[in-house]
Amino acid sequence: MFSWFANPLRFMRLSNWLAPLCYALAALLIGWGLWQGLWVVPKDDYQGGDIMRVMFVHVPAAWLAMASYMAMAVMSFIWFIWRHEVADIAAKSIAPLGAVWTAICLATGSIWGKPTWGTWWQWDDARMMSVLFMFFLFLGYMALRASMDTRQKAARAGAILAMVGAINVPLIKFSVDLFTSLHQDSSVITADGPKMAAVYLWPLLASGLGHTMLFAGLTQTLMRAEIWDRRTAKANAKLMAEG
């Protein structure tokens, strides 16, 4: 299956219509989710009153941050084992997006934390710390790739880091259950299914799906740009070899 996607040509043809579709779905889902979340659902005083509406950004951002890291690690793994170029391109394209979503999660979490917990940041909170470190990992991944002199080396170095760093994700996911944390326990993605009231759950899920679509669309766009870049570089090298 990987090899089927691994063909850059096929990917270009696929993403040609898939990316716009992703953007359209993203607009619909995020639009509805936010409209519901920001104006329709009742506010919840237990979670800080109106500030809880930030949840409809915070939670999808948190999910996407973790998912994008996992996606980057999996792509790196595929590249490392099978050397499919598209997987490397995907991993490279995911990194900046993941960093942005992680930053959004951190920012919205802090904004939410100030009124509800009375602090912007708690240093020994395992969840906050591990999300912060995921942010560092994304930055480190990009810095590492940027500092390599060839594309091949950049891909190898990045893949090693992405795979090793994947230990962070389970730590993030289970940190609230393992440690005492200010953060609330999982209530959507749990072993016994969602425990959240339906008024909140549906807009949240819609928003989450919308973010996923947006993420998928942006990834494809970045990948297309990278593929064009590499084609140009290859053509240049050929020219130089002949000239």
Partner: protein, 202 residues
């Protein structure tokens, strides 16, 4: 980019000790070489030629399996010795401890003292590498070639920093090795001192 051609003389009976086909390499958007093929059988030697920056060291590293070629394949039939610009000496190691370490690592049984005296390192045998002269460092690293019999020798500019006597010594080692059925690949500027079976010009 391959301007020279390997001469396709094959070994007496056995297969080649080392062979490579279609090697190509790119460094920093510059094509160093493409389509390099070579093969060395027992008793054969190959000299890599080319001006500074042509890619000899890079090709040697590819043959040794240290660097991955952009295209092409390398087959080595056995272990090899590696001797390059960077000698692999730690500043605190003396000729004796360095050769001792590698002889233990490789499980070789050769006599350290005789290796040291063969390489002309009797006197500085216990001087840490950071105080050794350039030639003494090279001689220490060359000593590794004597620790263990290995079919293939890969040498990057083996005469660098050696005095006349040291040069003769290396030549003698190479000739003994070739007579004993070994193979040698060496990157050399100027006179090689021996008649190579084939040359590759990059």
């Amino acid at each position: 980019m391959l301007r020279g051609v390997t001469s396709p003389v094959s070994g007496p009976l056995s297969g080649p000790l080392l062979s490579a086909t279609g090697l190509g390499m790119i460094r920093g958007e510059r094509v160093l070489f493409t389509g390099v093929g070579l093969s060395i059988a027992a008793g054969e030697s190959l000299v890599l030629r080319g001006s500074n920056g042509a890619g000899k060291t890079t090709l040697l590293r590819i043959l040794a399996g240290l660097t991955r070629p952009e295209t092409g394949d390398v087959t080595r039939s056995g272990p090899h010795h590696w001797f390059a610009h960077r000698e692999g000496l730690k500043p605190h190691e003396t000729p004796r401890t360095h050769l001792g370490l590698w002889s233990r690592a490789w499980g070789s049984e050769s006599d350290l003292d005789s290796v040291l005296s063969r390489m002309g390192l009797k006197r500085p045998a216990d001087v840490p590498a950071r105080y050794l002269s350039a030639g003494q460092r090279r001689r220490t690293a060359l000593g590794r070639l004597l620790l263990e019999q290995r079919p293939i020798w890969m040498l990057d500019e083996p005469y660098t920093a050696l005095d006349a006597e040291g040069r003769d010594l290396v030549l003698e080692l190479i000739e003994d090795h070739l007579k004993g059925g070994g193979g040698v690949v060496a990157a050399i500027h100027g006179e090689s001192g021996f008649v190579p079976t084939s040359e590759v010009v990059l």
